[in-house]
């Protein structure tokens, strides 16, 4: 093994969490076997773009998708405080087919609510990649557009669409729940027009997105694509 590769491996190991390292495990029947969590517990296959086929059917399906937006309950920044009021009698987002889901597997919309710290970006990427195609990203607040008031912060990203394919931006600091509802309506229009193909964009430009993500996440200790 050359020194170079050894160095890279050591560097990788430094960031690897204890539970993700290779180890020997003794099973309940006494047989010992090796576990490599990065290989065994995650899937690191590249995402595949699945383009819509029949236009008429796709229009109908897009209409259903637009009227049934399942939002992942994952708040990244201060903007998350604007989401709970949507479910109260005053705003009642259920009227528009917007429902909250607790798990990324079942959700179709990821709201990046406000500033995104690098540490949270890592979790946001993991959550986004666990969601199923088609999936949409709604960016809330000025911080996701150009960093907002955190534009020169040492640990906050400035422009979200370098890292995830954003469908709709809602500007403001903070945007009120009405603005968020307007953003949802914009997203619906986009989906119905067949222009919300973020998941396919992400798959097509996967290398570009990964390079951007790795540039800013220094302690990359997970597989490249971990759904």
């Amino acid at each position: 093994m050359s020194d170079n590769t050894k160095n890279i491996e050591e560097k990788k190991d430094k960031f690897l969490a204890e539970e993700n390292k290779k180890r020997i495990v003794t099973g309940p029947d006494g047989v010992q076997f090796e576990v490599d969590p990065l290989q065994d517990y995650f899937c690191d296959k590249r995402p595949v773009a699945k383009d819509p086929k029949n236009k008429v059917i796709e229009n109908f399906l897009n209409w259903a998708r637009a009227e049934s937006l399942w939002v992942l309950g994952f708040g990244t920044g201060c903007g998350n405080i604007e989401i709970p009021p949507l479910l109260t009698p005053r705003f009642d987002a259920f009227r528009y087919g917007i429902q909250m889901r607790p798990t990324p597997r079942q959700s179709s919309v990821l709201i990046i609510s406000g500033y995104l710290a690098v540490k949270t970006l890592k979790r946001a990427i993991r959550s986004y990649e666990q969601m199923q195609n088609p999936k949409y990203v709604l960016a809330l607040g000025s911080c996701t557009i150009n960093g907002g008031m955190y534009y020169d912060s040492y640990n906050t990203i400035n422009r979200l669409d370098y890292y995830l394919p954003v469908d709709v931006y809602v500007a403001g600091c903070m945007p009120r729940p009405e603005a968020l509802l307007a953003g949802f309506n914009k997203l619906k229009e986009r989906i119905k027009a067949g222009r919300a193909e973020g998941a396919n964009d992400y798959a097509n430009k996967f290398d570009w997105y990964k390079a951007n993500q790795k540039k800013i996440i220094k302690d990359w200790n997970m597989p490249d694509y971990n759904w």
């Binding site: 517990y41 899937c43 595949v48 699945k50 399906l61 259903a64 998708r65 009227e67 049934s68 309950g73 109260t88 009698p89 009642d92 259920f94 009227r95 087919g97 429902q99 909250m100 889901r101 607790p102 798990t103 597997r105 079942q106 179709s108 199923q132 195609n133 088609p134 998941a199 759904w227």
Partner: protein
């Protein structure tokens, strides 16, 4: 040969009606809950849209054979109950495949789906699924105890295990319903129904804001679509089972719809005014008053 095909077609028509009624009933109940909270709530057609969306997702991930089979088993349980349940009393077409011992078979099918789901969800590998399953099976086992006692009681009362005969014995007016002739068994069963339908206070297993929604944590796309289809089906067939056993069955579809709605509404009615039990609270709750009433109902008919 021809007869069985015709019967099958009628059964499929019944399935179509029951499924759509289940989706509509679910939406109506969610609207009622929303109105209690001073909201408008979802549009009544939301469950159909959700299903279309889930079935048409472009990607899905399997975690192994059992993960695949989990929703299939669950749907098998729901369809099993449906197939052996007479929907409309006296109707040649909508009695499905009801036969002499269907009551026992239906009780078995209720657990069958749960077990299949448990195997499938644990194959997903998510720790939250496993916690959800442990809670779900624990609660469901205790729900079954008073229900089974109530069923034994009415089996002794009518001296039969056929649902059709039990419904037949209740014809002729309100005063012949099991509700009047055997109020103890009805009470035990209606209390266990609260756990069967999993509305609050017994909705810990699948409540989104607890350990993320329990068993179906990892299920998505068409897998979740199958589970939701089964959920709609199960709500109607279980309400129909209670309707047949305790409330005189139904002689036409309007009666069927009104009675199943009211049976389901009972659990929603209790749900909207109740907080949520922890799992050990709900387990012990079923093993106290409902169990005592169930035992009393059996003792009276021995």
């Amino acid at each position: 040969m021809n007869d069985i095909i015709v019967k099958l077609l009628w059964t499929l028509l019944g399935l179509f009606i029951v499924l759509n009624w289940g989706l509509l009933m679910g939406a109506t109940m969610r609207k009622i809950v929303a109105r209690v909270a001073h909201r408008y709530g979802i549009p009544f057609y939301q469950p159909w849209l959700d299903l279309i969306k889930l079935y048409s997702n472009r990607s899905s991930i399997s975690h192994g054979v059992m993960f695949y089979l989990g929703p299939v088993f669950r749907l098998g349980g729901g369809l099993g109950i449906f197939l052996f349940l007479p929907l409309i009393y006296g109707s040649e077409h909508f009695s499905n495949f009801s036969w002499a011992g269907d009551l026992i078979l239906i009780l078995y099918f209720q657990f069958f789906g749960m077990l299949g789901m448990a195997l499938g969800a644990s194959d997903g590998g998510h720790p939250n699924s496993v916690i959800g399953i442990t809670r779900g099976l624990g609660q469901f086992t205790t729900v079954e105890v008073p229900l089974t006692l109530a069923v034994i009681s009415i089996a002794l009362q009518y001296n039969t295990l056929s649902i059709s005969e039990i419904v037949a014995a209740q014809q002729g007016g309100f005063q012949n319903w099991t509700l009047v002739t055997n109020p103890l068994a009805t009470a035990a069963a209606m209390l266990s129904l609260l756990g069967l339908f999993r509305e609050a206070p017994f909705n810990l297993v699948k409540a989104p804001n607890e350990v993320p929604i329990g068993p179906p944590t990892e299920y998505h796309s068409a897998f979740l679509g199958v589970l939701r289809t089964n959920g709609a089906l199960l709500h109607v067939v279980e309400a129909a089972l209670f309707m047949n056993l305790f409330f005189g069955g139904a002689t036409h579809w309007v009666e069927f719809i009104v009675k199943t709605f009211l049976v389901y509404f009972w659990s929603v009615f209790v749900g909207v005014v109740s907080p949520r039990f922890r799992i050990e609270q709900s387990v012990t709750w079923f093993l106290k008053i409902p169990l005592a009433i169930g035992i009393l109902a059996v003792i009276l008919y021995i």
